[in-house]
Symmetry: C2
Subunit: 260 residues, 2 copies
């Protein structure tokens, strides 16, 4: 099942997307819903963020190749994490499918994409085992963890490297029926493939992260966990269009604009 | 003016606190309000979190003495930050005035308090100068950035060291009339003073942080910025009561309990 959040005629709602048709619901996928008789063509609505996260968790260094490439660019030895520590991002950086990523004037030229699987929590959970971890998951969407690499190397935290306004595109919708091991992530720049990797080839997978977090932090409906990325991106320029596809989920597409 | 958020007879509202009397409002201090004729004695209500933050910013290493003491405990050279980089905390960790801080069984004995000034943003803002920075501030409250020092030293991020459930007491209310240079922070453990410091003796002050953040991140009504702490705490034990007073604002009090 695909959950989409959208605006039509000035009103924002959740709906269930089948093929190219949305069936509007009253309520939402977290607190309960009822389907209505209202239907829309996907092409007639503005797609919104699939949710505004409660807590915005983000995993770093979760694919070996990405760790090695980032280390090589910074001229340091690659260090693979030995345990699943999670970080945070901030909601100011979120934009929806098709909205514009704006690179601020104060940024350097080293602004890059990171295509990521996003886990959407649907049920409150604590002290989950790895075996039970997926029981709290509503579904999955796609994130682009845009990164300014000069700031990432120079700053004590990732605040502006990864949380600048518009640096966290997320969407286009939430897919609830996913087989993690079958997913592939494909990043295309201006229609041409840059990167392709097995989405689930993570150092620490979704189950391990959820179980670990939930030992001391309560997970709530509406929390999201961005699961990190593989490979490395070129520097992006004004006019680029970045498509992040995860097979079985969909494609998140956003144009790049330099602030003028 | 003091904004308090409270529950009485199963209903939660904002009110204006004068002496020991609350005047209930309809609405809230962020989107607008009207005073009502309903009044309550402070002693008759349960004090709630003064707000549920939109984005929960937290500043680290913002007082020189604290940086030196943490470094000494970890056996490393103290490094003072050279620029105001901000981090994030998560809402799962928040509890209100008088609620219980629960130290989980998996924690070590090195669990400590950090008394902090909390800035509450009241107006949307971007690209603020330092001179204009305080124009977006609604007021100030108090935070206790509880920290598990073993995890703080061992983990790549601060996720469990500082975001374990109940590790972020905040309150008791928001004071809008504050002269930053006059504030003193006093931490008492079981009624006895542990620490006293000038609240505004920061490496980078409130104006500098707000201006810096707002260059690339939009600040929104309901965002909070925890401003860091001075000094160092002993290890806390079951039954301790931690009072954090900031003169002119109030006192945040929370008991400590070990998970059984």
């Amino acid at each position: 099942m695909r959950w989409i959040r959208y605006t039509v005629a000035g009103s924002t709602a959740y709906g269930i997307l089948e093929d190219q048709t949305i069936t509007q619901v009253s309520g939402d996928p977290f607190d309960g819903y009822e389907t209505t008789s209202t239907k829309h063509a996907l092409s007639d609505v503005k797609i919104e963020l699939p949710l505004v996260p409660k807590t915005f968790y983000a995993v770093g260094f979760n694919y070996p190749e990405h760790v090695r490439e980032i280390a090589a660019k910074q001229g340091v030895e690659p260090k693979l994490p030995t345990q699943p520590d999670v970080g945070y991002r901030a909601n100011n950086s979120l934009i929806a499918h098709n909205e514009t990523i704006v690179i601020p004037k104060v940024a350097t030229e080293k602004v890059q994409y990171e295509g990521e699987l996003v886990v959407v929590i649907g049920k409150q959970a604590k002290h989950l085992s790895e075996a039970d971890a997926l029981s709290c998951v509503l579904g999955y969407t796609i994130g682009n963890d845009m990164s300014e690499r000069t700031w990432q190397a120079s700053d004590r935290t990732l605040w502006r490297a990864k949380n600048t306004d518009t640096f966290a595109p997320m969407g286009p919708w939430i897919e609830t029926d996913v087989e993690l091991d079958k997913l592939e992530t494909i990043v295309r720049r201006n229609g041409k493939e840059d990167i392709r990797f097995k989405t689930n080839a993570m150092l620490f997978g979704v189950e391990r992260y959820i179980s670990t977090i939930s030992q001391v932090c309560t997970l709530y409906p509406g929390d999201v966990i961005w699961m990190g990325t593989d490979g490395s991106s070129p520097n992006l320029v004004d006019g680029d269009i970045i498509d992040i596809e995860i097979t079985g989920i969909g494609t998140l597409s956003n144009p790049i604009k330099l602030e003028t």
